[in-house]
């Protein structure tokens, strides 16, 4: 069983983010959109926590909020004992070398006018690390580490395939030797055989650099295969969290159970006993949060229950390290 070490690298507590919209509410104030509410999880050193959920679940907002790429409106983020939300802009900027991000869309994030070498060197020069010669040596070694001939440093991003560009993005993010890498859907746009290469590479790099990953992912097969711990988000709230094997093997929350049962699988005999097809779609909530369970309108077991309508279920432990925000955990099995 996987157990989180006593002092995790990253601890997110009760993280919340509310956006103001341009619409006015009844009292004339701006209508608000809750993107995250009460999200807590931890990431152990050298381990991977996966954040899963559908579009609109808040997983990308969570990634950006914990790096302070957007400012959370509530909660705390503790990185190696340091309160990130208390850092002033300049200390925060210096701190950023310890936590980096890799994006899904390499076309939008790798400047097409820069050479691959300049792209990988850029974070080093921004943080004033090493001499020019040292930086170029670092670029060469990073390129080699992700499977390129260092001579490709002179080429530009458009000369590379999607999978190769993703390897360049990873080399750029790892050049600063960060302790935490936030990976936002890094393999979603790739063919399955290329996806396999990137996942293998990420596993190797994690072993080599002892880096921790927060892995934002919508593909549950990738999540289950790759991550140690999983956090399931729905409309900005944690529905379930726990060790990957336990969470996918015996999901406690009806939303997780529905997700697991909806995923098509190529494994003979691994198909779920029955397919739970949820009705409706995830729809953002503006203004006041309904008082009961946020998932209740779509929930196959809670829709008509008074408790679910009236009381927001707390994230309660169901087994060691495994918790679900449901009044009836384990009742719906895939």
């Amino acid at each position: 069983m996987s157990a989180v070490p006593a002092r995790p690298l990253l601890e997110v507590r009760d993280l919340g983010k509310t956006f103001e919209t341009t619409r006015r509410d009844a009292s004339g104030g701006r209508e608000t959109l809750r993107a995250l509410d009460g999200v807590s999880f931890a990431v152990g050193r050298g381990r991977t926590t996966g954040i899963v959920g559908e579009s609109g679940s808040g997983k990308s907002t969570a990634a950006r909020a914990l790096l302070r790429l957007i400012e959370p409106t509530q909660g705390s983020v503790t990185f190696d004992g340091i309160d990130l939300l208390a850092l002033a802009p300049e200390p925060l900027r210096r701190f950023r070398r310890r936590m980096q991000m890799v994006f899904q869309d390499t076309t939008g994030t790798l400047d097409p006018r820069m050479s691959v070498g300049a792209l990988i060197e850029e974070p080093l020069s921004v943080h004033r690390i090493g001499s020019g010669a040292e930086r170029r040596a670092k670029v060469a070694s990073m390129l080699e580490r992700v499977g390129f001939d260092p001579a490709v440093a002179r080429r530009r991003p458009h000369e590379f395939s999607g999978g190769q560009r993703q390897r360049i993005g990873i080399a750029r993010a790892l050049a600063l030797a960060p302790e935490l890498l936030v990976l936002d859907e890094p393999v979603s746009a790739l063919d399955v055989s290329v996806q396999a290469q990137i996942l293998n590479l990420l596993k190797d790099l994690q072993a080599e650099f002892a880096v921790s990953y927060v892995f934002i992912v919508h593909d549950l097969h990738v999540a289950e295969f790759f991550c140690d711990e999983i956090v399931v988000l729905y409309l900005g709230e944690v529905m379930e969290a726990g060790p990957s094997a336990a969470l996918f093997g015996a999901p406690q929350h009806p939303y997780t159970a529905s997700l697991v049962s909806a995923v098509p699988t190529v494994r003979r005999g691994a198909a779920p006993a029955r397919r739970i097809i949820l009705e409706g779609e995830i729809a953002p909530i503006s203004g006041e949060r309904p008082k009961g369970c946020i998932f209740r309108p779509r929930c196959p077991i809670g829709r008509d229950r008074a408790l679910c309508a009236d009381v927001r279920p707390p994230l309660a432990t169901t087994a060691a390290g495994h918790a679900a925000a449901c009044h009836y955990p384990g009742e719906l099995a895939p």
Binding site: D191, N200, P264, V266, E281, I282, A283
Partner: protein, 336 residues
């Protein structure tokens, strides 16, 4: 139950003229699809599956062109038909569902107007009032709630999943014999994907529709289609009943694709990858196009010099084959 042959493709080849020579993007593809059948073409980026879909529907623009072959729809060859005749066929006998419904819908027209247009384009005798009634029925058939009212909404007022339902309603509006669905669920969340696949299932069963799904997603095919066809470097390199192919892939490429999907049962293990890149379609090797990357055939003289003919694998469903010199033994490996 499946019925008559609806679509019969024979020897279809498509190519692009480039400065560095002709790219043979679709090479000698042939198969049939019957009423009530769900057939898949699976391939990675650059396999030729999208060009194949365009060629099939007569939508290939220069510098692309159909170099050879026939696309018989209900017995009539579409290759060589003029644009006017093709337009009468498309949306009527064969229709298309794309990955991105927002790009295919007109943002400044209501959903109702777009459905009415589609209906009246092919049924000019239909009055506006009747077409609108028919449009509401179609929305109900694709399970859009409150159909009457939602006819007057614009595409942006629909969610992604609901827009894809509208695309399906447009595709079936004129009662086609076959729907070609190009990555129809790729942009959707897994719960919405499950809803759309279940809807397709009901439409196929109820209408006796034939469905040709073009996708990169093997798992969707494994759970949803009857027949799998794997495309590599412009050719279908393996075809067979879905269960049989997943049970024992006869082509090494098919096997490698299946194995590269993360298997939670093998957590921590390294994933299978496919070394190298697909061949340059302007300079195809004389032998098997997968040979340079093939764990079975790499370096073998027969694989390097002789393009493998399709090896029939009769016990794997109608028209099953694999284009591999070792297909017969691989398909039979471990069999009783």
């Amino acid at each position: 139950m499946t019925g008559n042959v609806v679509l019969d493709i024979a020897g279809l080849s498509a190519e692009f003229a480039t400065r560095e020579g002709t790219a043979h993007v679709v090479r000698d593809v042939g198969f049939t699809v019957r009423a009530g059948e769900k057939v898949a073409i699976v391939g990675e980026s650059g396999s030729g599956k999208s060009t194949f879909a365009l060629a099939l529907l007569g939508l290939l623009d220069p510098p692309g062109r159909i170099a050879a072959g026939a696309v018989r729809l209900d017995g009539r060859d579409l290759v060589g038909l003029g644009e006017g005749a093709l337009k009468r066929v498309r949306g009527r006998s064969i229709s298309l569902v794309f990955q991105d419904p927002m790009g295919a819908l007109d943002p400044i027209k209501t959903i109702g107007a777009q459905l009415v247009d589609t209906l009246r384009r092919h049924q000019p005798g239909l009055s506006r009032a009747d077409a609108r009634r028919r449009a509401a029925e179609l929305l109900r058939e694709v399970e859009v709630g409150d159909a009457e009212r939602r006819l007057d909404d614009y595409p942006h007022q629909y969610s992604g999943g609901m827009r894809q339902r509208v695309m399906i309603a447009i595709a079936i509006a004129n009662d086609p014999d076959i729907v070609v669905a190009d990555e129809p669920t790729t942009a959707l969340d897994v719960t919405t994907q499950a809803q759309i696949l279940a809807l397709f299932d009901r439409l196929v069963a109820r209408r006796g529709l034939a469905l040709l799904m073009i996708t990169h997603n093997l798992a969707v095919v494994a759970n949803f289609c009857d027949t799998l066809q794997v495309m590599y470097a412009g050719r279908i390199v393996e075809r067979g009943a879905v269960d049989a192919v997943f049970e024992r892939p006869a082509h090494p490429y098919t096997e490698a694709l299946i194995e590269s999907i993360p298997d939670p049962a093998r957590r921590g293990a390294r994933l299978r990858t496919i070394e190298g890149l697909p061949p340059d379609l302007r300079r195809l090797p004389t032998g098997c196009s997968f040979e340079p990357r093939c764990p079975v055939g790499r370096g073998r003289p027969v694989c390097r010099t002789v393009a493998p003919p399709p090896v029939p694998l009769a016990d794997r469903g109608p028209g099953a084959f694999a284009e591999c010199h070792f297909a017969a033994e691989r398909a039979g490996e471990g069999a009783a």
